[in-house]
Symmetry: C2
Subunit: 280 residues, 2 copies
């Protein structure tokens, strides 16, 4: 069965197209939206895909409207795919808190009620959506992945679990060690249950300790980020990388916070980083 894409919005941008689609997700059992930037044609080769996973409370639109990434994507010839952060809608369970339920899917497969019928963002992003993208757009099979905050966790975790799928990974202010910080402990308890051993498969620090197929990784972190000390803790991933000789570059950016102003300031660096591997 081919899922049908409904075009919701289309804007010419930097010589390419910024589009937004809705489709019915069989994995998530709900209607989903995603945004995509398609650069203008560059010769005859199909462009590679760079995924961006957004943070808590965000949708597919935060990065597409605020980060300014399309300029460099157009220049380099990269397709940007921007999924939503969770299943959505009236049929989907939710929570009053901003850090659980809709907008807070944490890019994993939930095993606990009431979340398990819909909150399967990991399968959606590794199985359903890539097939949909490949089937409906002119893209090559090369992929890289990046994200912000909860989406930084998502990008690093997906890359560490699927190192043959992505050529590189990067993150802005990611949650690197969700099993050990409040945001992650709350979400993992709800989605995965009380058995902490079952959380380990979704934690970048723990995944990197087991990694056998290293990928180039770039991490930018502002030192004025209000969530740095309690939730993000990039030094823990840096310590694992150092111990494992994993190719992770961590850049601490003085004065920068957790906002899209921070992302906008460094997103071109991330696109050029991924382009080195995507266009090689």
């Amino acid at each position: 069965m081919v899922s049908t894409l409904e075009l919701l919005e289309e804007h010419r941008m930097f010589g390419g197209w910024q589009q937004r689609y809705r489709h019915q997700s069989a994995t998530l059992n709900c209607s989903m939206t995603f945004s995509i930037f398609l650069p203008g044609p560059k010769g005859d080769t199909a462009p590679p895909v760079l995924w961006f996973l957004a943070g808590l409370t965000c949708s597919d639109e935060n990065f597409s409207t605020k980060a300014g990434a399309q300029r460099a994507a157009a220049e380099l010839g990269l397709v940007l795919v921007m999924p939503d952060t969770s299943p959505r809608g009236e049929v989907v369970p939710n929570d009053e808190a901003y850090d659980l339920g809709q907008g807070a899917g944490f890019y994993l497969n939930a095993t606990q009620a009431p979340w398990d019928a819909h909150f399967r963002m990991y399968d959606y992003l590794t199985e359903e959506l890539p097939v949909l993208i490949a089937g409906n757009f002119n893209v090559s099979d090369k992929q890289a992945i990046m994200g912000h905050s909860m989406g930084g966790h998502g990008a690093l975790m997906l890359a560490l679990r699927n190192p043959q799928r992505y050529v590189s990974a990067s993150a802005f202010a990611p949650i690197v060690n969700p099993t050990q910080v409040p945001w992650g402990e709350k979400a993992f308890t709800a989605y995965l249950g009380e058995d902490r051993a079952l959380w380990e498969a979704w934690d970048s620090c723990l995944l990197m300790q087991q990694a056998t197929h290293p990928l180039p990784m770039l991490l930018d972190q502002g030192d004025s980020d209000q969530f740095l000390a309690d939730q993000l803790r990039p030094e823990r991933l840096e310590a694992v990388a150092s111990e494992k000789n994993y190719p992770l570059t961590v850049r601490i950016q003085p004065g920068y916070d957790h906002s899209y102003y921070f992302i906008a300031s460094f997103v071109e660096d991330h696109l050029r980083f991924h382009a080195r591997y995507l266009l090689a």
Copy 2:
């Protein structure tokens, strides 16, 4: 009396600072916000100011979050000042329509009740706010101005009325002939009254016909803009410029619409255009 600035937000961005302030406006008789981008230091000279005036329904935040202009502003060493589009708040008259009242000040001085006590954006932008900026920030006395849609009207009109104040002007999809299009006729009737002779001082096409001190002007217009045929009509300003030999460059951008995706695509061109005169 020095008006007090209250810092509402501050974010490091592209090596400079994106800030948002609130102040009490004596001209508008209400509390106002504006956003400002301050580039990082470039040698010892104070940077010039480039104003951006936003369109209907917008505030100071649309351009600051969506246009991506700070990257080029940081590189070139330009201060960006982004005012709100009208007086605001419970004390200020409003209208249910999106194109009248709050968010729709049209950058003029209203003469008609109930608008005349607050809707004096022209005086605010030419007298009060420039003094406030010059008194509180390290800026040179060189200024240029740009805007979008209703703010494109504002930028061109302010420049044509004050050609000694600005070194250059530019616009994205501006309303160039408000006395002859529905948005302008509605707003001018409400703010200025039924006497159309009194509207002429706020219409760029008519002001350009009288201009004696030409300024370099750049106008970008998407040809897929839904408002092009009824509200914008750039060909009318182009005709005046041609007749008067006024230094206006009009660029029709194929496939682009009225959105910030359009602005983002060409804003760097506008900053480089203004920088030629601001940094000369």
